[in-house]
């Protein structure tokens, strides 16, 4: 979703990608290196050296796509706590509920689906929050984010919904992403 917004802005002739800062490169490097070590899981000198070189190259070239904001934003107890709470509690609960619902629909002999595309407003502002919410919505079965649009300073999602209970966009938003949005609002504004 970040990608889409960027290209929109580029077409309007405005903002380009921001310049990369050294801290962005360093934090991307640390992330790449941690995942390299987790995937190889061999702690001898050669692996560590090769991993460091590879992650440094990757970090130099990809940091500008990866981090646009302050890289140490999450280093605060409340933000990291709410991230953990979201990833371990709120999201799995919604995922389980939605999965059971869609599995029931698929196995039901009469196949009760009412597909439709609803437009849903969102109060979130930051790009990270918007893309995280869009990915969470897509990941829960029954709803897929199709596009994101900005109108009058407010962001709207277009969501394909397998069971359109209401066409009112406010109510639909509350049903689809009420708890998810509250959880993400604690992490990013």
């Amino acid at each position: 979703m970040i990608y889409l917004k960027k290209t929109e802005k580029l077409e309007k002739g405005g903002v380009c990608l921001k310049k990369t800062s050294l801290s962005a490169v360093i934090s991307t490097f640390i992330l790449c290196f941690v995942f390299y070590m987790l995937f190889t899981f061999a702690f001898n000198l050669e692996e560590i050296l090769v991993g460091a070189v590879v992650s440094l190259i990757v970090a130099v070239f990809t940091a500008k796509f990866f981090i646009h904001d302050n890289p140490f934003y999450l280093f605060s107890t409340s933000r990291f706590g709410s991230l953990l709470r979201y990833v371990l509690l709120i999201f799995p609960k919604e995922l389980l509920k939605a999965n059971i619902d869609v599995a029931k629909r698929a196995l039901n002999p009469s196949l009760p689906v009412k597909p439709g595309i609803v437009k849903v407003p969102s109060d979130l502002k930051s790009e990270y929050a918007l893309s995280m919410l869009a990915n969470s919505i897509t990941l829960t079965p029954g709803t897929i984010t199709m596009d994101i649009a900005e109108e009058d300073g407010k962001n709207y999602y277009y969501i394909h919904w397998i069971d359109v209970a209401t066409t009112n966009s406010e109510k639909a938003g509350e049903t689809i992403k009420g708890t998810l949005e509250k959880g993400i609002g604690g992490i990013w504004k």
Binding site: F41, L95, A106, I117, K119, A134, T138, P141, G142, T167
Partner: protein, 113 residues
Amino acid sequence: MRIIVDIFLIFGCFFAFAGTVGIIRMPDSFCRMQSSTNIATLGTLGAVLGGAVYSFWSGNIGTGVKVLVIGMFIVLTNPIAGHAICKAAYKYGIRPDKKFVCDDYGRDIADGK
């Protein structure tokens, strides 16, 4: 311990089965996408968690960590492909046989042109 692994695997298999049945039975491509998310989330996550518990239990910490990281990456990358396919299908002009209940996207795109 073995029972816990089996429970996770059966859980994953059930949701993979439900998703597959959904892909065959759903009326149009957008609803099929919805059903396929079923497989990608709880179907794979069940299998991944079962595999991770099994490898931690049998002492292969390396394998267990790798399996967990694989699960994490599936969860991170799956939605991006999902919404790209869905949007591409819509822009290409695929419409369901049965009408949408409401189609805000089509309305707004038509206004934009």
